[in-house]
Symmetry: C2
Subunit: 157 residues, 2 copies
DNA sequence: CTTATTTGTCAATTAATTTGACAAAGAAAA
DNA sequence: TTTTCTTTGTCAAATTAATTGACAAATAAG
């Protein structure tokens, strides 16, 4: 992956990361979050969460299985986290909505800042690009199995 | 989110990121990747990909709907990307398997390096922690809507 | 205590997936 | 080219999973 093999894989990976968009069924959301299907349907009825069907009028055919975005999955996880700590449903939703864009920001970071990838011993090194005030260098994240991920500065040619 | 509100949300978010584990049905994988359900079943039959059912003997009950991990979703996306460019199925799988751990490395990075989150104008600032050779400072990712995500160095108290 | 919100459960219906089989298209080999 | 092997499409019958609607129970709020 250091040379020619590099772009053949990395460019595809970046492209997949950038465009990935999958939906989850109610059963999968329920299992992964611990929120029952009955709760999910009720929360949707009350407008706290949205399924693709409730967003798009063209998909509003009866008896269609609900599909949820990964964004909604995280939202449900967050609401449930607050509920587990004693918040009411309404309060949990309010707390969750206050920073609903954080998950999108993290995705934006990944899409914009993974510039390149190199293979290293037991892992990978991500090129995160330049950092303000340090010209001629890039920040790299060194990610290795059984080691703490660390950041380093290296000359960028 | 700058003060007391902070941890109430950020710690939950980090925890959710760290432990999120959802599965996808064959229909969702197929729609999101453009690979037909017939192909996915065949690829599994040939051992190129695995569903949860094919991993875990205890789940090997007949007629159960297949579930795939996000890791497998990315793998299928990658295989399809190679196939779209003219690779045979076998070659596409080989190319894909060569760096199958990259997606896990990226997840590891997120889990280990998002130390804190602060609200800024139109976005968020992620504390990515210290960087080798620059004591007393942390790297921050400033993520704003309608702006390129940038990295900055700031004193860390 | 009374009312409103939220969730569990059941039954009947509809949707989505499973398996198995056969055919057809595509790639590799003779 | 011809033959063979790999890969995918399609169909039907069976099975699993989700849908809606309703009622009851549990929980929170007034």
């Amino acid at each position: 992956m250091d040379s020619a093999q590099n772009n053949i894989y990395v460019d595809r990976f970046k492209d997949i990361l950038k465009h990935e968009h999958f939906l989850l069924g109610i059963g999968e959301i329920s299992k992964a979050t611990g929120v029952s299907q009955r709760q999910l349907r009720y929360w949707e009825e009350k407008g706290y969460i949205k399924s693709e069907e409730s967003k798009d009028d063209s998909k509003k055919c009866d008896h269609r299985h609900r599909k949820y975005s990964h964004f909604t999955f995280l939202k449900v996880s967050m609401i449930q986290s607050f509920i587990n700590d004693g918040y009411t449903l309404n309060a949990a939703v309010q707390k969750t909505d206050a920073h609903s864009l954080l998950s999108k920001a993290v995705k934006q970071f990944l899409k914009e800042r993974i510039l390149d990838v190199t293979v290293v011993q037991n892992g990978y090194e991500l090129d995160l690009g330049s950092i303000d005030g340090v010209p001629g260098k890039h920040v790299y994240a060194v990610i290795q199995k059984n080691a703490n991920t660390k950041l380093i500065l290296k000359d960028f040619v």
